[in-house]
Amino acid sequence: MDSSYTILILLIPIFTFFLLGFNFKRIKEPTSGIIGTALIGTTALISYFTAFQYFTGAMKGAIVDGVYQKVYTMNTVWIEFSDTLHIDMGILIDPITAMMLIVVPTISLMANMYSIGYMHGESGYTRFFAYLSLFTFSMLGLVLSTNIFMIYIFWEMVGVSSYLLIGYYYNKPSAVLAAKKAFIVTRFADFGFLMGILMLGYYGGSWDFKVLSDLGFIESLQQAYGAVFMGLSVITWALILIFMGGAGKSAMFPLHIWLPDAMEGPTPVSALIHAATMVVAGVFLVARLFGLFHFMDDGAALTVVAYVGALSTLFAAIIAFTQHDIKRVLAFSTMSQIGYMMLALGVSGYSGHDGLGFMASMFHLFTHAMFKALLFLGAGSIIHAVHSNYMQDMGGLRKYMPITHITFLIAALAISGVPPLAGFWSKDEILVAALHDNTLIFAVGYIVAGMTAFYMFRLYFRIFWWNEPNYKHTPHESTNTMTIPLIVLAVMTIVSGFIPFHNLVTADGAHIETHIDWATAGASVAVGLVGILIAMFMYKKENTISKRFRSGFGNFYEAAFAKFYIDELYMFVTKKIIFAKISAPSAWFDRNVVDASMNGVGNGTVWIAEKIKGLQSGKVQDYAMFFISGVVVIAMLFWFFI
């Protein structure tokens, strides 16, 4: 079947944005929520249909000789720079896009439906749904991009949607600061991304994904470019810069500082953008250019990806131990899990069983989107009930919020890697892939698996067990529009582990054989259960164990609680160095040196005029004197020169 209908996947959300955006005063609650949900629901149906068509091979050109192909639809030149170098606009469907066509609309639909109840009574209700549609449009555009410049375009668009949604409560200074921080940090990363794109265009000669993923083309690049700087070729440097952009969006160390603050946005936004979709854009980007990452300079850039991922996953897990704000725990957990996906890509080979890491990364991206969105929406439901983000104000909620409780537990078990939930399957594949490639990275992954289980169940027990604080209002279960998304996502969390990803989403498009590696699986389940048990021991009932642990770790705990002072470091560099030592002096210099010298020219002219106006005295004697002096001077000049 022809695939031109896929354009609707983009048109419907942007139409929704304009519809709600232009009528933000006229369309009232809850109409705008229902319109938004219905239209995003339609988008979701078309997206599912597209993915189904693609994976079954019913779409024209989807499968050739048992290998999934890249299908282009309506690819047209948007800006032409030269015959080979142009920015195109079009739709590309391949396995990872088709997979994202399930992830993005599903989570977006759930977030929309959830927000109908969650955003009840907010003054910018319609505006919120308009922004959600804008985000959905941008994110879908990003995953459907046919070339890296188009990705960059939508990359900026998702950045702006994220800015608008983090700053949704724009009267709250902390939200404004968080929105600004998120935009500027990712923009800084995008500076690297753009430079990388420009380098890739100039030296590689194309931005088109079909060209960039062609093995013959990659081979020719390998031969054309030798080492130029630190033993790496210019293409590898371009890829590292591109990865810098990906690391910024995906909150990888050290560009992660915006993500915890981004939790200032409404919770459905955190679930949609800062847990399931936008933050995995960096993973998607690396996966998209996987051939280049893997083959150029024997995967030097991919090694960078692996170590950045491993460092981030460990770093974030440590911080997640110490946070009290439940959304921030989840934010660091997200960072940690994305680090997992990155390291999985980093250890992956290209084809056959070596390509397990790629498949596992995409698999984890998929399952993580489901259970992390569920955790966030659950957290939103809890926050809605107790009116606080802090664990200290929670406890014993299992009695009051049964649906939230059960779904949250399912998600927590899934992220801890307990079989047969989704997280178990994907995490296991990642660990198997890491074990084959790099023992150090495997060790980090393994330890983090245990840590994840611990901090998730710290959260779980602290919220739903522990001792009840004195609630001012008795907490109650949320409305149906909020609990239905929880249930749907819980079902997805249970079943999505059984999707045969190895047949569908692989680096080279061909099937790969996988089998459960029982030793690794057993070990990872064991470490997860240990984490859960320790958390249960420490947090099921109110006690002082955790306090004693805290004082035992002393300064290290303090440092982790303060997120290892990375924010302070950035503040020091921006405020004390860039603002105070560069920007303010530049402004001063402009006024007091550049401008003053221009004024000086003017004042000098006036001064000279003042001085010489006495010459025009009107006295004949003076003029006679000047005349004679002039004659003498000229005579002397003649005397000397002739």
Partner: protein
């Protein structure tokens, strides 16, 4: 009457009509009609131009007219347009109309205000249609002089000082420019022809390389001062800060474009060897402007200063792109001129709208205005996003052309310059978001709770600018095609030496 001369005649007729008009309300109606007619003419011109190109006319300049003016010096009133000038005329007509709407409520000496505004516009139109250096220079002066009166009489703050500074600096630049024009004129007969001011006749002459090296910097600086080249940009913050809104819009939106246009069409086109010889030197100045304008904007607290420094940065990008000497960067420079015209005048309009309500431009004294004036707040966010180069708005298409063009030079010098220029996208985001965050977001301030909502004429003035910024941003290929066609003679003339 030919289609181009009407662009000078209609403003003159508008001025005459204004002279005989009485009543506060009628001045602005007459002006609005006059500028509306110009807008229609501009689009008619665009349409006619596209039609004539469609029909296969490949002349460099179309709709040419030539009347002898001063026979003894061979000065002609010679006019004609190519794609670039057509687009510039379109830009001018839109901004004049938007500016008229934004100054709907000018009360003091409204008649004189509108008269000077229209004279200024006439000068700009004349400049863009001229192909005779002398005539072009005359129109240039016609455009610059009303600026002095408009700022000095209707301005705010230290307006006499600012007006004087602006005018003197531009006049100083004009002096250099005049020297360069005469330099070209007296060298225009080296191949044996008559002395001429005609741009296309001069371009056929092989001006001696020594003369080009001498006169290129004069012509370049002469034009680049109005294009806010570092370190000759200091008239811009003071001038903009004191100017009334519509004048800021016209000045930043249109008049500053004369700089890049003149540099391209006169300095570079007529003196290609000089351009190659001097390009690296001026490129350094231009890139300093790009980075330094953006960095200085971060520390400003006055809305107009922020925008003025932002203009220094964005127009530095135009000059930089022109000096990059390749067609992609040139296309980017032209798109950036258009883009900056729409976006910066939108910003000045919005600054005027807010200033008219809060009576302050100090960003530290404002906050939470979004809650009180949601549409104006949204427009601020849009303008901010457009200014920092968000895809979908014109700035993105322009900058990407410039960056890709700049990247075509693999040597270390150009690479460093390009990296500095690209880094401005980060700095721009910093000052734009700081501005929007400070004045529109944050807690609502008590004293501003009762500010009036946006009026219809303010909507008209701003929406049209947003619309055009988006038209360029979403359909860059349409505008690029027009520009590419027009750039061909420049490629031949400049790049082949």
């Amino acid at each position: 009457m030919d289609i181009l001369s009407l662009f000078v005649i209609v403003p003159v007729l508008t001025v005459i009509a204004l002279m005989f008009t009485k009543g506060q309300n009628n001045y602005r109606v007459v002006t609005a009609i006059g500028s509306g007619v110009q807008l229609i003419m501009a689009f008619n011109l665009l349409y006619q131009f596209l039609a004539i190109r469609e029909a296969g006319n490949t002349d460099t300049m179309v709709f040419m007219q030539d009347y002898m003016w001063f026979k003894s010096m061979n000065i002609h009133y010679a006019i004609g347009v190519d794609g670039i000038s057509v687009l510039m005329i379109m830009l001018t007509s839109i901004i004049v109309l938007a500016g008229t709407f934004i100054s709907w409520k000018v009360d003091d000496l409204a008649k004189e205000f509108f008269i000077f505004l229209i004279i200024l516009a006439a000068g700009v139109y004349g400049f863009f249609i001229s192909i005779d250096l002398f005539t072009m220079f005359v129109f240039y002066e016609i455009a610059v002089i009303p600026m002095y009166l408009l700022i000095g009489l209707w301005g705010s703050g230290p307006r006499e000082y600012s007006a004087m500074k602006l005018t003197l600096m531009l006049m100083g630049a004009s002096a250099l420019l005049l020297v360069a024009i005469f330099g070209l004129y007296f060298n225009s007969n080296v191949d044996g022809g008559a002395l001429t001011f005609n741009i296309f006749e001069i371009s056929q002459v092989n001006i001696p390389v020594e003369a080009q090296k001498l006169f290129f910097p004069l012509a370049f600086i002469g034009f680049a001062v109005i294009g806010a080249l570092f370190p000759f940009h200091t008239w811009s913050p003071d001038g903009h800060a004191s100017a009334p809104t519509a004048v800021s819009m016209l000045h930043a939106g249109v008049l500053m474009k004369l700089g890049g246009y003149g540099v391209f069409r006169i300095a570079m086109f007529l003196m290609p060897e000089g351009a190659h010889y001097w390009s690296e030197f001026f490129m350094i100045l231009a890139v300093i402007g790009v980075a330094y304008g953006a960095i200085a904007a971060v520390s400003q607290t006055d809305l107009k200063y922020i925008n003025a420094y932002s203009s220094v940065s964005h127009l530095g990008m135009v000059l930089l792109a022109l000096l990059m000497m390749n067609e992609v960067a040139w296309r980017g420079a032209m798109l950036q001129s258009l883009s900056h015209g729409f976006i910066t005048s939108l910003f000045f309009a919005l600054i005027g709208i807010v200033y008219g309500r809060t009576h302050t431009r100090d960003i530290a004294k404002m906050g939470g205005l979004m809650t009180i004036m949601p549409i104006i707040g949204t427009l601020y966010v849009i303008a901010g996003m457009a200014n920092l180069g968000l895809p979908g708005f014109s700035g993105f298409a322009a900058e990407m052309n410039i960056f890709v063009g700049a990247f075509q030079h693999p040597d270390m010098f150009h690479r460093i310059i390009t990296i500095i220029a690209v880094s401005a996208i980060v700095t721009t985001a910093v000052y734009m978001l700081r501005l929007v965050g400070k004045i529109m977001m944050g807690p609502v301030m008590e004293e501003y709770k009762h500010l009036p909502a946006i009026t219809w004429y303010e909507k008209a003035g701003t929406f049209v600018l947003v619309l055009f910024s988006m038209l360029i941003g979403i359909f860059p290929f349409f505008w690029s095609d027009i520009i590419d066609e027009a750039i061909k003679p420049f490629i031949q003339g400049i790049l082949s030496v």
